[in-house]
C-alpha cells in the first residue's frame, strides 16, 4: 500500500482527543471514508508495525484532519508525531439521499469523528439534521462543542444526560435517515432503535491489517451468511446488510 509522508500542519487537543491537520489536495474525500495512518519513520522504524485506520474528521479541499483518542502504542506515537504517513482516502463513506428529509447523526465516543465532515456535507446539500453524542466522561465530551446544538450524554453523568447516546432521544421514528459511528455494540443498538423504516447507515469498527482489501482481516458478518471486508465494502454499511 502506498503511504504519503505529510507534515502535521496543526495539532490541537480537544479534551481527551487529539486533532491532527495535514495538507490533502489529491482527490476528493467522502464523509465516512478513512485513512491508514502512523507516525512517520518507515522503513527506519517498524514500530508500530501496522498502520491504524482513522476516519476523516474534517476536510476543506486543502487540508484534512483526523481526530483520535490515544489508546495504545500506535496512537501514542501518532500523538507525538510532527510528520505522519497516510494513505489516500479508503473505503465507502456515507451515502446521502438529499430528498429523504431530516437526518439523525449518532456518535459514540471517538465515533463522533466522521460526523463533523458528514454534517458539513449535509449542510451543503441543505439536509436538516440533529446530532446525538455519547461519551464516557467530560474529558471525552469536550469535542461536543464542535457540534452546535448536539444532544450529549456521558456515562458518568458529568455532562448532559447520564447514560449512552441512546438515552439522548426518545425515538428515532421521525428521522428519515440515521447515520451512526461508534463501538459495534452501540451500532447494533442504534440499528434496533432506528427500526426498518429509516435509511440507517453504520460505520463499523473492525481490526484492519491492510485497509485496501488485501488481507481479508476486517470482515463483518452479512445477512445471507458469510463475511465482507469492511475496508472496501465499508466501513459504512446499510444497517440491514449487517448480520448483527
Amino acid at each position: 500500500m502506498k503511504f504519503y509522508n505529510v507534515k502535521v500542519e496543526e495539532r490541537k487537543e480537544l479534551g481527551n482527543y487529539t486533532l491532527l491537520r495535514y495538507r490533502w489536495n489529491d482527490g476528493p474525500i467522502e464523509p465516512g471514508q478513512f485513512v491508514m495512518a502512523r507516525a512517520a519513520g518507515y522503513p527506519v522504524t517498524l514500530d508500530p508495525f501496522l498502520a491504524r485506520p482513522f476516519s476523516f474528521y474534517d476536510y476543506d479541499g486543502e487540508t484534512a484532519s483526523l481526530l483520535f483518542e490515544v489508546r495504545g502504542r500506535g496512537t501514542a506515537l501518532l500523538d507525538l508525531a510532527s510528520t505522519i504517513e497516510v494513505t489516500a482516502p479508503l473505503g465507502k463513506g456515507f451515502r446521502i439521499e438529499p430528498d429523504l428529509g431530516r437526518a439523525a447523526l449518532l456518535g459514540g465516543g471517538i465515533g463522533v469523528a466522521p460526523l463533523k465532515v458528514l454534517g458539513r456535507r449535509l449542510d451543503a446539500m441543505g439536509v436538516p439534521y440533529d446530532v446525538f453524542l455519547g461519551f464516557a466522561d467530560a474529558g471525552s465530551a469536550v469535542v461536543a462543542r464542535e457540534f452546535a446544538g448536539a444532544e450529549v450524554a456521558t456515562m458518568d453523568g458529568s455532562v448532559g444526560t447520564c447514560g449512552t447516546v441512546l438515552d439522548t432521544f426518545a425515538t428515532l421514528e421521525d428521522y428519515a435517515a440515521v447515520y451512526s459511528c461508534g463501538p459495534n455494540p452501540m451500532l447494533a443498538a442504534v440499528k434496533l432503535a432506528a427500526g426498518e423504516k429509516s435509511l440507517c447507515q453504520l460505520s463499523v469498527e473492525e481490526r484492519m491489517g491492510c485497509g485496501n482489501g488485501s488481507c481479508n482481516g476486517c470482515v463483518v458478518p452479512v445477512r445471507g451468511g458469510g463475511y465482507v471486508r469492511s475496508c472496501v465494502e465499508g466501513p459504512v454499511f446499510r444497517a440491514e446488510v449487517l448480520a448483527w
Binding site: M1, K2, F3, Y42, P43, L46, D47, P48, F49, L50, A51, G74, E206, R207, M208, G209, C210, G211, N212, G213, S214, C215, N216, G217, C218, V219, V220, P221, G225, G226, Y227, V232
Partner: protein, 308 residues
C-alpha cells in the same frame, strides 16, 4: 553481468518460467482492489489460495498486531475454484500467474490440480500444504513427510504440464522439502506463517489464534530457506518477513530463486522494496540471478521446469 550499466538485471528464471523481477506477492496478501499499485513490481502474480468449494472463513477478529509482525486467522475465505477461475482475468497484468490451492484431502488437491491443468492462464500451481488456520485442513494431514509426499505425488500426476510448487510450513521443513522433491515438486515455497496466539490482557481473552507473519519471522524463514536450498535441488521461493530490499537480497543469498512479499505490502509500497533491491544490486554490480545461493556458492539447479 550488469556492472556499470544503469539498471541492474532483475530477471530470474523459476522452474523454466522467466520472471522480470524475483518478487512475487505472497498468496492471500494482494487483492484485486490493490492491483493498480503494483504494475511492474512483481515477476509473477499469485492470488489468494483457492479451495474446491467456497469458504466463509473465520469469524472476526482475524488480525492482531504483534511486535514487528501480525497474527492472522482468515480461514482461507475464498469463493471456491469455479468462481475464482471466472474472475482470474482481473489478475492478468501480463505476467505469469501462479495459482495457490488447498484442500482438506489428497483428493481435493488432486481435483484442483486437474481443474487447473487445462487452463492456459495458469503458469504454475502452488500447493498450500501449510495453512495453520484451517485446523481440518493443511496442517492436520500435511504435517509430515508421508502426507506431503502423497499430496505432491497426486498433484504431480494431475497437472503434468505445469510446474508445481509445494509451500511448506517451518515445522519439519527440511524433511518435508525432501519429501516434496521426491514426489516431483518443481519448486518449494518456504515458509508459511508460524502458528501463534495473541491475548488481550485487559479483556482477559484470546484475541487471535492463527499464523505469525512479518519481519518478526524473517530470521526463522531465512534459516529454513538456507537449510532447504542446501538439502534439495529444486528452486526455493523465500517467504517470511521481507520488508525492504536488503531482505530480498538476504533471502536470495540464503538460496532463494524468487522472493514473496506478503505482510509488508500492507505497510509499505512494494515498489519501494523493488527499488531498494535494485539499488543493492547496482551497488554490488550484480544481477538478481547471480545472488541465489551466492553466500556459499550453492545454486539450486533450475531443472524440472515444465514451462510452456
Amino acid at each position: 553481468m550488469v556492472v556499470g550499466t544503469n539498471d541492474p538485471n532483475l530477471a530470474v528464471e523459476l522452474c523454466g518460467i522467466p520472471l522480470l523481477t524475483p518478487l512475487i506477492p505472497a498468496s492471500g496478501t494482494l487483492s484485486k482492489e490493490a492491483l493498480g499499485e503494483v504494475e511492474g513490481v512483481y515477476g509473477a502474480m499469485l492470488p489468494k489460495t483457492t479451495t474446491p468449494v467456497a469458504r466463509a472463513g473465520n469469524p472476526p477478529p482475524r488480525v492482531a498486531e504483534t511486535p514487528a509482525g501480525m497474527v492472522n486467522s482468515i480461514g482461507l475465505q475464498n469463493p471456491g475454484v469455479e468462481i475464482f477461475l471466472q474472475d482470474l482475468d482481473v489478475f492478468d497484468l501480463g505476467i505469469p500467474i501462479l495459482v495457490s490451492v488447498a484442500g482438506d484431502t489428497v483428493a481435493d488437491f488432486g481435483g484442483l490440480c486437474e481443474r487447473l491443468a487445462g487452463d492456459d492462464r495458469v503458469s504454475a500451481v502452488e500447493l498450500n500444504l501449510s495453512c495453520p488456520n484451517v485446523e481440518c485442513g493443511g496442517l492436520a494431514f500435511c504435517a509430515g513427510p508421508a502426507s506431503v509426499e502423497e499430496v505432491v505425488a497426486a498433484c504431480r500426476s494431475a497437472v503434468p504440464g505445469k510446474p508445481i510448487l509445494a509451500k511448506l510450513t517451518n515445522e519439519g521443513v527440511v524433511e518435508n522439502a525432501r519429501a516434496a522433491e521426491a514426489a516431483g515438486a518443481d519448486g518449494l515455497t518456504v515458509i508459511n506463517t508460524i502458528p501463534a496466539l495473541t491475548i488481550d490482557a485487559r479483556a482477559r481473552k484470546v484475541l487471535v489464534r492463527g499464523g505469525l507473519s512479518g519481519p518478526a519471522i524473517k530470521p526463522v524463514a531465512l534459516r529454513a530457506v538456507f537449510d532447504v536450498s542446501g538439502a534439495v535441488g529444486v528452486p526455493v521461493i523465500g517467504s517470511g518477513g521481507v520488508v525492504c530490499g536488503t531482505d530480498v537480497a538476504e533471502f536470495m543469498l540464503a538460496g532463494a530463486t524468487a522472493v514473496q512479499v506478503g505482510t509488508a505490502s500492507f505497510v509499505r509500497d512494494p515498489r519501494d522494496i523493488l527499488d531498494e533491491f535494485s539499488a543493492y544490486l547496482k551497488n554490488g554490480g550484480l544481477g538478481a540471478a547471480e545472488l541465489t545461493g551466492a553466500l556459499r556458492g550453492i545454486r539450486p539447479t533450475l531443472t524440472g521446469g515444465r514451462g510452456r
